[in-house]
Amino acid sequence: MVEAAVRPPPRPSPKGEGDHIKNGEQVPLIEVRELVKDFDVSRPWLNRVIEGAPRQLLRAVDGVSFAIQRGETLSLVGESGCGKSTVARLICGLYEPTGGSVVFDGVDLGKVTSRSEMLQLRRRFQMIFQDPYASLNPRWRVRDIIAEPMRSLGLVKAAGLCDKRVAELLTSVGLSPQDMDKYPHEFSGGQRQRISIARALSSNPEFLVCDEPTSALDVSVQAQILNLMKDLQREHGLTYLFISHNLAVVSHISTRVGVMYLGRIVEIADTNTLFERPLHPYTQMLQSAIPDITMSGKPRVPVAGEVPNPLDPPGGCTFNPRCPYAKDKCRVERPPLAPFDGASVACHGIHDGWIPIRTAAHA
């Protein structure tokens, strides 16, 4: 019993032996189906009544579907406002989806009604946030911060066991057990992010949603955190959903990458495939926009325009006003995300064959 209390969840081994295989097919750990999220950005009620202004909805996530297998890292990349963080929050239950469903290990989270069942599921996924200065309560000691998920989920009752587990967690993220009596302000940004990771790991989750975990950090610290995340993934068999705007970071950490634009996934593929052969014009544009640190002098695809106003997105393919290959069809018909030679891409030009397929030459 003592052992069970220290390491709370008696969970199946990460590389499943049969229990997540149905009809010979592996069931993904998490699956998102046609997820939609609208935000109400209308004027206040009185203004609407007086001015006759209509109700206004902003569709932040527009029919996003993907699945993540156990032990995999799926990254979502895109520019600000593309809906990647909203997807992360929808999965963690911080927002209620307007439509679609999130299925975790075969259970539709929207259909779970009993609180105890929900708590059981909640324990198995956690989230790491971008800003380590805002995501840790400044008035709490590190011990309480890290033990919070265990307490609120009722995993550990005895205080002594709790401390033991916190010490264990601190060591595993590269901090010292003595640090548990300190307050967050005594730590640097990188160390704080380590505390966030320890907190996320405290309920022994299987799935971590990481929303820009290294964006607020300096490069040398970013390298430390990325290495730590990879080590933890290997040791604990974790599955990650990684949200980032930095393509280089994404290429380093992920097994698969989804590119988002205005609330939709425009391309999703294995990391190597995506970076060696970007299909969607937006993916190509994003890649060529990264400053070239090797100074190889390769020519850039000229980038035009900015992300349009999401309140009034263009018809058809939302990328059409910026796309150098856009034709009439793109302005009218919304392209579906469909498989294409080892990847999935939402682009008429690729599927109908008028966009040349280029492979990026990385030395």
Binding site: G189, D218, V219, S220, A289, I290, D292, E306, H362, A363
Partner: protein, 362 residues
């Protein structure tokens, strides 16, 4: 340099190696032994400690470093906008041979904008939200140049056109909130260019922008500097931006310059162990390393900068001398690096291979 400089003894200005010379041209900006201190209740913190560099006319000098390295403070000191308790405690700043660090506030105000332009990170806070952008640009132009309202407005439209704002004659009467982030940064660049300054201090100009917009702004900055012959001090933490834009780069660490040299050299052939670590820790697309090389630990706080070389507790090649004596910038291949590995007696033929074990000769 035949003799190693002893710590604390400032090399005389003008001596070879004391101020890294960018080229044979007369420098536009020369910063010599700059020292910036902050008086706090818990004692004096040295944010910038003996920093020297020059910028030639038309040159782009990148200043790179992690947060707290002192890169922004250096920029603020140059434009004379250090706020108390920060103060310049030593050294001098010369613009076209004229000292500007000790000028009274009103005189400095005339130089700022007219001779030195500034672009800051957040384009929303650099613009006044209550005035149209036209009014802000016209006011800036008329402060520095003898122009009538009509002339200034015509020039403002011209500038907006130049920085790539579509339909400038209509947009000039818009307020900042009516522009997107990238467009706002273009307006800020137009403001910095108003009086045709010879030098622009750009502090993280693209950090708040998305990659696609960042690429546009970098291209714009490069084109404008080429066309106007404006020199730029580009402060950023993003080595990629530096690689795309700069001619030379200074790498800062804990308030000191660790390495300064041509951008190609610093990126492909770094000489200071910190630069090597920094370059290694940047993830790159296509590289399939399981682990990124990482520098252990983090940058020291200003009140706890170690003795000797500030990088010594994190340095993989540290030896005894690093813990005691502080290295000045010394020639290292085609760059200058503040590292004892490049001390003349270490650079004896054949000595390069056994750097690591601290084999100090002489």
């Amino acid at each position: 340099m035949t003799e190693v400089q002893k710590p604390g003894t400032d090399p005389k200005p003008g001596e070879p190696g004391s101020v890294p010379a960018s080229s044979d041209r007369e420098p536009l900006l020369a910063v010599r032994h700059l020292r910036v201190e902050f008086n706090t209740r818990r004692g004096t913190l040295t944010a910038i400690d003996d920093v020297s560099f020059t910028i030639a006319p038309g040159e782009v000098l990148g200043v790179v470093g992690e947060s707290g390295a002192g890169k922004s403070i250096t920029g603020t000191a140059v434009i004379g906008l250090l706020e108390p308790p920060g103060r310049i405690a030593g050294g001098e700043i010369l613009l076209e041979g004229r000292r500007i660090d000790n000028l009274p506030f009103e005189q400095m105000r005339k130089i700022r904008g007219r001779h030195i332009g500034a672009i800051f990170q957040d384009p929303l806070t650099s613009l006044n939200p209550l005035y149209t952008i036209g009014r802000q640009i016209v006011e800036t132009i008329r402060t520095h140049l003898p122009m009538t309202e009509t002339q200034a407005r015509a020039r403002a439209i011209e500038l907006l056109q130049e920085v790539g704002i579509p339909a400038p004659e209509r947009r000039i009467d818009n307020f900042p909130h009516q522009f997107s982030g990238g467009m706002r940064q273009r307006v800020v660049i137009a403001l910095a260019l108003c009086a045709n300054p010879r030098l622009i201090i750009a502090d993280e100009p693209t950090t708040a922008l998305d990659v696609s917009v960042q690429a546009q702004i970098i291209t714009l900055l490069k084109r404008l500097c080429r066309e106007h012959g404006t020199a730029v001090m580009l402060i950023t933490h993003d080595m990629g931006v530096i690689a795309e834009t700069s001619d030379r780069v200074a790498v800062m660490y804990a308030g000191r310059i660790a390495e300064i040299g041509p951008v190609q050299e610093v990126i492909h052939n770094p000489q200071h162990p910190y630069t090597m670590g920094l370059m290694g820790s940047i993830p790159s697309i296509g590289a399939s390393a399981e682990h990124l090389p990482q520098i252990e630990g983090s940058m020291p706080r200003l009140n706890a900068i170690p003795r000797g070389c500030a990088f010594n507790p994190r340095c993989p090649r540290v030896f005894d001398r690093c813990r005691v004596e502080r290295p000045s910038l010394m020639p290292a291949d085609k760059s200058l690096a503040a590292c004892w590995l490049h001390a003349p007696e270490m650079a004896a033929p054949g000595a390069k291979s056994d750097w690591a074990e601290g084999a100090v000769h002489g």
